[in-house]
Symmetry: C2
Subunit: 215 residues, 2 copies
Amino acid sequence: MDEITNIKENFKAEVSHHSTEKDILEAAKRVFQIKGMYGARMQEIADEAGINKAMLHYYFRSKDKLFDAVFQDAARNFFSKIREYLNVDKPLLEKIEYFVENYVELLLQNSYIPAFIISEVHQNPDRIKNVFMESGVSAEMQFISDINTAVSLGIIHPVDPKQLIINIIGLCVFPVAAKPIIKTILSLKEEEYLEFIETRKKEVSKFIINAIKVH
Amino acid sequence: MDEITNIKENFKAEVSHHSTEKDILEAAKRVFQIKGMYGARMQEIADEAGINKAMLHYYFRSKDKLFDAVFQDAARNFFSKIREYLNVDKPLLEKIEYFVENYVELLLQNSYIPAFIISEVHQNPDRIKNVFMESGVSAEMQFISDINTAVSLGIIHPVDPKQLIINIIGLCVFPVAAKPIIKTILSLKEEEYLEFIETRKKEVSKFIINAIKVH
DNA sequence: GTCTATATAGGGATAGAC
DNA sequence: GTCTATCCCTATATAGAC
């Protein structure tokens, strides 16, 4: 085999490798996010990826390692987006508007993630520990500082920044995490539910700003 | 065997039966609520109940039926409490205060239930269907009517009652459902977390009332 | 009703050919 | 890297004695 052929083969192998690994991760994502760690079956993930079950072990050694790859990826992305949307350089009230609009949109596009993360962390609280490691907490600190400044300037009523942050995130996340329950309680069809969440992009920030703003 | 002995035996059997069945349900509750349907092991439930594994099948036939008994019980109780606390005869704003205080307390006393319900309904949305059957939706309808009345009286700003209800429930439930995540994000120890939730009994209703009240 | 022992299947993981 | 065949353990469920 001459050198050029050799390089081509290696290249093909590398591309193939990456593609398969990615296919597996995507398939595993779909299955794990709905069925969870213990409800998911390796066979189903293999079928979903269009490959053989043995491949899963070839690439990820064990179910637990595959799951962890999926979970870490989903959780890291999700929390880093919180920071990203909080990091925009705007005054507090506009920052809240910006955050809610973008985060609700993100949730609409990834509607299984919140319940998935809540479920898995509930069953195994240690999993969340590995998510926050290198990540600086600067965005949250900056936001807390923004809140305290706005309070001292008399722009908003005195409020515990921690409570406010949880209120904001909860108002965005809860309706998505509890989707099937809310659809049932409010008797909403799928499109009505989606419209309901879409509406929240504007409504939630109005609600929050009303709650804290000094008029 | 004379009749009195017979009655005694039946009585004993009946008492024993009810006690064992209840023990199993309590044990299953503890295990299922943390580990979920697929993470839980019948052996662990048996150990937790201090009885033999075969007993579980004697009383509940299958794991699925046992799980369903636990889930239905937890979910029915949880949603009926929402109605109960919304049904109190008070003006809207006081009703919201009353609801938040009592519902947050209920959540503190049953802190595993929200994540448990969210998880299981996420994995199997059909489960929620059996929860709402005989139950009239009168309390919710009454509350929606209260909201619309308060709007037309100019007591609160115009608001979609459905959005408001989800806001209220979300503000109460989310911080409990996402407990381990929130403890991590806010760097709270167990007691600090409990104090954080305790504080919400007052803070959340103030937040909501500020958001909707016409000043 | 409660136990011990066991049947049976399902699923994660590996061996080995290609 | 990818497949087929298979190992082997675990977990639900049942049989049957007491």
